[in-house]
């Protein structure tokens, strides 16, 4: 996923959300087909399936088919190397405009956050973006990260919420 994020950052600064979505899917499809190196986010298993960085095993898309969505469903993987995961769910909403993903992801990446998954929907030019961010290498406090991301959101004229993943786990899983 970090490779995907870098691809988005390097190729799409200033692009609109639809363009970003197409490129992200291209990158995912390239990894799934084995034409791109395995990344932390996606691994080609060589048996017709691909495993995402979140542990989901998905069928490898055939040529001409749509690649798997980044939103891979609810695969439990709360620990890595025996330690609890430390992740944030970042939700951004607002009117669609150029550079939203680029600026948010840049802000998060510069502070050490690793975007592990992205989901987006656009209805009537109004978008909802959800990032799952690994905080393991974030040097700043959660409060500082939150303040910085909210500052970016304010400049973009969108609304953003940072919430620790533990809230989701507590309320949505037994």
């Amino acid at each position: 996923m970090r490779a995907v994020t870098r691809a988005v950052e390097s190729r799409l600064s200033g692009a609109d959300l639809d363009t970003v979505r197409v490129v992200v899917r291209e990158v995912v499809a390239a990894v799934a087909r084995g034409s791109a190196p395995a990344t932390r986010g996606l691994v080609n298993n060589g048996d017709g399936t691909v495993t995402t960085g979140l542990g989901a095993r998905l069928p490898q898309p055939a040529a001409g088919q749509s690649p798997p969505s980044l939103c891979v469903g609810c695969v439990e993987q709360t620990k890595r190397n025996g330690r609890p995961r430390n992740r944030a769910v970042v939700t951004a909403t607002g009117p669609n405009r150029r550079g939203v993903i680029a600026q948010l992801t840049t802000c998060i990446a510069e502070r050490g956050g690793n975007i592990e998954d992205v989901s987006q929907t656009i209805v009537s030019d109004y978008f909802t973006l959800i990032f799952l961010v690994d905080l393991a290498e974030v040097s700043a406090t959660f409060a500082d990260l939150k303040r910085d991301v909210e500052a970016v959101a304010e400049r973009l004229g969108i609304r953003v919420t940072l919430m620790h993943e533990d809230v989701m786990r507590a309320l949505q899983r037994v």
Partner: protein
């Protein structure tokens, strides 16, 4: 694990639009080790001990709130019943102890501290009597101190002498704080079967069976339940009451999980001797529109809360809240049910204003929810004996039904039935309700103790 966008947006909606919050994180602190013969030393020790134990409480909670994005509305303290701690001093007044509690609460940044309390369900010791007699001055001269007195249990019966004494103190306290509509009475609760781990003010105390330092959490959630029911009824106006109960149960589950998670995280971060106590499942309304238990009842089809059907509707809601919450937490306690504090619930205030909700109907409803006559305003000239009889009636419901009941009643000085007083904030607007003009004096003045009911003999 990744999350479906619907799951994420549901949580955000609950927090941002439906008032999901953690109503209170309350740290209970044992003061038993501080008891001694010198009142001055005791007061100093209480202040120092509370500042030592709770110094990091508020910063810790605020950091957790920032990370989890779930509002934690109140941070509070509760302590061992002061009548027990202060009795060895032999002092004639415990007002100095209340002031020490008040100062400590201000120092650590909590808005209320509970535990200026006595347990007199059978009889009062000298220390209990001193505490009860100190209540008007103690609550009238402090900002943050709350008091509770347990006057009955199912096992001990009802101490009517204590009820009479409480009614007198309530009148005195109202008079002492008459410039603010008798607001002191909002900090005083008379209990039957008082829980020892209740995190909610004003009835919070740290029971004598508790550990050194305990974190108890009170969840909220009327707004979330209300929204879920509005969606259900909106989509299917002919849904059955069983389906309604199921929706409440599922919603309560999620709300309680939030409370459990936050309580345990507070304990983990504070470390040391701090242990996790309970999650109190109560639906706790606020004066905010849409955060009302009364509105929940009205969403189910009652024209106004207080109309026939209100008691059974409240029973349905309370039971479903408990069932959902029990599945979500390994440690449920406190009051756990649904609160119907009149002034603090906008729908209740409106129902009282239009005459739909009488004091008598409210009393009936308290038989099936978790508290009692809570934040009930009555005319300032209501006689002491009548207040005592109102308390005794409510206490009897708790004693006979093996449940907690309580009375937080405010005889608003200078006000008559039909008038109102705005206390502001979470205390809301008190609608002064009419009280029976028929006297109870001769009955309550018999005094003494009503023996424990037959249902207490379960051994």
């Amino acid at each position: 694990m990744f999350w479906q966008s619907e799951e994420v947006t549901e949580i955000l909606r609950m927090i941002e639009q439906e008032h999901l919050d953690i109503r209170t994180v309350t740290m209970g602190v044992s003061l038993r080790g501080l008891a001694g013969r010198d009142l001055g030393v005791l007061c100093r020790d209480i202040r120092e001990h509370l500042e030592r134990c709770a110094g990091q409480l508020v910063p810790t909670i605020e950091a957790i709130q920032a990370e989890l994005a779930v509002p934690i509305t109140n941070k509070r303290l509760s302590v061992t019943p002061i009548a027990i701690v202060a009795e060895p001093t032999g002092a004639d007044s415990y007002v100095a102890v209340a002031e020490a509690m008040d100062n400590a609460a201000a120092e650590v940044g909590v808005d209320y501290i509970g535990g200026f309390s006595a347990l007199v369900e059978k009889r009062a010791t000298r220390g209990d009597s001193v505490l009860i007699d100190s209540i008007p001055e103690a609550l009238g001269s402090t900002e943050r101190v709350c008091s509770s007195v347990n006057v009955a249990t199912t096992r001990a019966g009802i101490n009517v002498d204590a009820i009479l004494r409480m009614a007198e103190r309530i009148k005195q306290l109202a008079e002492r704080t008459k410039d603010q509509g008798g607001i002191g009475c909002a900090k005083l609760v008379t209990f039957a079967n008082i829980p020892e781990d209740n995190p909610f003010i004003a009835g919070a105390m740290h029971g004598i069976g508790e550990g050194d330092i305990v974190i108890n959490v009170g969840v909220s959630g009327p707004g979330v339940v209300l929204s879920a029911l509005r969606r259900l009824v909106g989509d299917n106006p002919r849904c059955s009451l069983g389906e309604i109960a199921e929706v409440v149960k599922r919603t309560s589950f999620k709300v309680t999980r939030a409370g459990e998670m936050i309580g345990r995280e507070v304990v983990r971060r504070l470390g040391g001797d701090v242990s996790f106590g309970v999650v109190d499942l109560s639906l706790a309304p606020t004066p905010t529109v849409g955060d009302s238990v009364a509105e929940i009842l009205e969403t189910l089809g009652l024209e106004r809360t207080g109309a026939p059907g209100s008691t059974v509707a409240l029973a349905l809601i309370t039971d479903a809240v408990k069932k959902g919450g029990l599945m979500a937490s390994s440690s449920v306690g406190g009051l756990s049910g649904a609160f119907i504090p009149v002034s603090e619930d906008r729908g209740m205030v409106d129902a009282a204003r239009v005459g739909a909700l009488s004091l008598e109907k409210l009393e009936a409803m308290t038989a099936v929810c978790s508290v009692g006559l809570d934040m009930v305003a009555v005319p300032g000239d209501t006689p002491v004996d009548t207040i005592a009889a109102i308390i005794a009636d409510e206490i009897a419901i708790g004693v006979v039904n093996h449940k907690t009941t309580a009375v937080r009643i405010i005889p608003v000085p200078g006000k008559v039935a039909g008038e109102s007083y705005d206390y502001g904030g979470l205390l809301g607007i008190a609608q002064v309700q009419s009280v029976s003009k028929f006297s109870s004096e001769q009955f309550v003045r018999h005094g003494g103790r009503i023996p424990a009911p037959l249902t207490s003999l379960r051994n």
